[in-house]
Symmetry: C2
Amino acid sequence: VKKSLVREFRKILGAQRCLDAPEDLYAYSHDCYARGKPELVLIPRTTQEVSAILRIAHREGVPVTPRGGGSSLCGATTPIRGGIVLATNQMDKILEVSQEDRLAVVEPGVVTLRLHQAVEAVGLFYPPDPASYAMSLIGGNVATNAGGPRCLKYGVTRDYLLGLEVVLADGEVLQTGSRAVKDVTGYDLTRLFCGSEGTLGVITRITVRLIPKPETKRTILTSLRTVEEASQMVSRIIGAGILPTTLEFMDQAYLQTVEELMHLGLPVEAGAMLLIEVDGFEEAVERQAGIVERFCKEHGALDVAVARTPQESDQLWKGRRMGTVALMRAAKLMISHDATVPASSIPELVAHTHEVALQADLKVVIIGHAGDGNMHPIFLLDPSRQGEMERFDKASRELFRFTVEKGGTLSGEHGIGLEKNPYLHLQVNEIGMRTMRAIKKALDPKGILNPGKFV
Amino acid sequence: VKKSLVREFRKILGAQRCLDAPEDLYAYSHDCYARGKPELVLIPRTTQEVSAILRIAHREGVPVTPRGGGSSLCGATTPIRGGIVLATNQMDKILEVSQEDRLAVVEPGVVTLRLHQAVEAVGLFYPPDPASYAMSLIGGNVATNAGGPRCLKYGVTRDYLLGLEVVLADGEVLQTGSRAVKDVTGYDLTRLFCGSEGTLGVITRITVRLIPKPETKRTILTSLRTVEEASQMVSRIIGAGILPTTLEFMDQAYLQTVEELMHLGLPVEAGAMLLIEVDGFEEAVERQAGIVERFCKEHGALDVAVARTPQESDQLWKGRRMGTVALMRAAKLMISHDATVPASSIPELVAHTHEVALQADLKVVIIGHAGDGNMHPIFLLDPSRQGEMERFDKASRELFRFTVEKGGTLSGEHGIGLEKNPYLHLQVNEIGMRTMRAIKKALDPKGILNPGKFV
């Protein structure tokens, strides 16, 4: 980025929002996976400013990496070709929450949690709840099609988008969708940008649909002797017509490792623990919780507890919520995959993951969203150990190969980013890559947007 | 299409599935909106055959219009540049219904109703239910992102797609998605093809996700004094946290016209009738029906009836189901729009539609899916009347302009096709059209797929 360009950007944004001091560049250089080396950080506040930035970047062929909350787990927002980091965190207005039309219009820099709170205050509900919701930005959620525990019942970010405003690579401003819940007018550009990880445009405004807030919920925690029994329990519950909001899985390695660190009283002898939430109308929720409890008792669960209040529920979530934080602190490096398989392949995936880790001399614990087959093998790594990262890469490749063989996917919700780019071809064949490249080229012919990702 | 080409296609498909007799061309020339003039009808049975057809068509630059059940209401599958109609109706196998993985894999020629029946037989549920489900093909449903009454609660066809096999314009075979419920690996090509009306590729295999079949339902029929009261009732119901499966609206003009034709005992003095269905667990459904019934009684409904058995429910649906059939028989030409607006704009849209029709000297009755603002003004036309079609076009343009002004869309579920192509620019501005054209060009550079549509 030439000095003259920096001056041009300063004229548009002012010196406060056009940063090139080393400490600023450092602060915006990374997400939760990797670090890059941006040359300039630009912090626009309006669509017009984003448009002006992209016009110049396009003219000069300067790379632009859009950035949300920086909570990507796969390096989706890491700038790997220098250039500009375009930070959206100051475009943070909730522009509208409409009870009547059951929608919200927000800027990309709104923290996901703020959106949850704003809509729940008027009796509405925005379901997607990525684990990072207290720091992730809604624009990043859209760019990565974020998921979360509640997605089993309610679907992912994609399923709540009505329309987007997107600044294209050349600075032109595109409007997609509308405020209508059903809209089949033209190609589904809304969902093309969703999950494209900033490689096709910069999202500057988002219209999301909302649903009525569920009346109540129950949380059920149960431990089972084996992973197979846990998997059978998942099938049994859904087979009974119950679609839980959340169906979290924790394996024995996770329980034992967390218990050692935290002393929470977790059942270390169990093969797996399931955390199940059902929500909806009081009567239906009570019956569903009753059915789940009965299934657990009838089919050999080691224990089962039902929470009926938010306080009791928090208690049951402790092992799941505090555990991952504890692991993050305990491990020198923690990398969580999110390979997703059809539900029937979960036991095989869990067994295969442990086998692969054992052979590679790696420590792994497994949690996951069992209802939708979205598992999170968490590798607890020590990069200072001889050959550790090479063995991790090899193990990862084998696990990705396995999930694709089972009809699954490399990534259920974290995205591709830097981390899984080398493995993309395992799932997307040459025709698929060609099609993706054709679309990228059609929308960003100079390849300035988040270069080095996807294609 | 040259004679030599016909011979080439005959070699691939045999004479039985390569048709050029006038009566065959006629049979495949139209959908429910318009008629075209194909030169050749090809009926492949395998992906390989589709691929071979497209390779040749691509080489020769011959137009190919993919065709499903021919039930499009907007001319989406009408061949307007001659060439080939590629009929998918003999690719009609249900390849798999997996209870464990809660998914089905089907060929595009499966009738929607057959899919409903096949999955419900094992306790699962495929929600999208376009009115034409007894004749529409699932491939056409995907190509048009079909909706239906149940979509208020359950979402549209797009929301149930896990993956597609698509033959691209040049005959290459693309696989999108996977068998996993959550999948963020690469651009969302699945949803790019969904709703693209056959302009980007020919869908040859579809993997849909399924959900547990709801335990029971209640049907509630109520008539209200005015459209405003009906609209308030819709807001009140959803405001109480109830998301009905279905929330059908019929206006006074509809009730009076159908009553005159059918003598069903419809409440002709009512300003609007609402048909409401709630489904789920017995206890919750019973309470929700009770709340709706109480709302109706407390807020001035002229009458309210609740059906608790399938037979009683069928009785309540009579006015809605038989009415549209009666209208179709009574009118010389019936054209149904599907303009969709945010929920709060429904009363204005209904009032404005009648005003515009009155000024244009046209007969219109209105039904619609009120919960999601997807209204169906049904114009009962007589093309032999002086200037009728010109006045209809003018009225349509004004209604499309109005829905877009209200933040809505030209089409909630029928699609664009021939009918709304002239109005597309009212919603999609020049940047939007440019983006759509760029994508079309990237995937179908010679423009052979369903030419003359969309872009």
